[in-house]
């Protein structure tokens, strides 16, 4: 009886350790996106702009057995969106990234981009 209880305990601890090891399974991602048409206001800058529209887009990428077979170029994507919208720049850029791995076999990353597409207003007389 005691032996059986010990065996059950050992199996239970083994299962728990296995599951927790699964929980600890790592994924890492680095986030550095600065598109060419990003606007940051400089001090003493008198330039004014109007909001064209709010940019919201999503892109996904996948990897199999640790080998990525698609990866979006988020900075280039934002630049092309700015051009397509006939805007001058993007500001207040926010990006949310999530990266999931399933059983260390399939990886799926997702990028959600938000920002304000703006057009600069020309001063009168210029």
């Amino acid at each position: 009886m005691s032996l059986r209880r010990t065996a059950c305990g050992a199996v239970g601890i083994g299962l728990l350790a296995g599951c927790l090891a699964g929980c600890m399974g790592g994924a890492s991602g680095y986030l550095q996106v600065r598109p060419e048409r990003l606007y940051e206001r400089e001090p003493l800058d008198k330039e004014s702009w109007k909001l064209i529209k709010r940019l919201e887009l999503e892109r996904s990428a996948f990897s199999f057995l640790g080998i990525p077979f698609s990866a979006p170029n988020v900075a280039a994507l934002i630049d092309s969106q700015v051009q397509e919208s006939d805007a001058d720049a993007i500001t207040n850029l926010e990006i949310a990234m999530s990266l999931r791995t399933f059983f260390f076999v399939l990886g799926a990353s997702r990028y959600e981009v938000g920002g304000d597409l703006i057009k600069f207003e020309k001063e009168e007389g210029k």
Partner: protein
Amino acid sequence: MKLARRAASTAFLAIAWLLPGCMSTNHGYLYLPERSYYRMYEQFMPISVHLVRHVKESVWGTHMMGFELTRPDVRAVFDKALEGNPRYYASDINIYTDITGRTFFTFFLLGLVKPKVVVEFDVVEVQPWSEGTPAPNAPTGAPS
């Protein structure tokens, strides 16, 4: 038949329990505000800068079984800190996402992950330099 049904339900439970446990997740958030301040501005602009306050706040999101339920509102932290004065800028921005202690819940609560985003930055007031105010920093490394 009864045994097969019991085996199937046990297998389903085991998969439902183990799957979120084996599913690891990582999240990251980036925000680049319009009014970001860099020290290099002082090298080529007649400005004076002083620290208004240091901001450090944590905002939370919620993910379950890989689906995003709520997203941490990082932008709101900046908007709140910079509102009211167009001369306020955000400086030394540090945004850090932490899910380390929260992946544990994936084991119990169907993949519930609560990413915690720590947003830390300085709010500085940038003013045109004029007589009677502290002088802007002298350029460093410039040829004499």
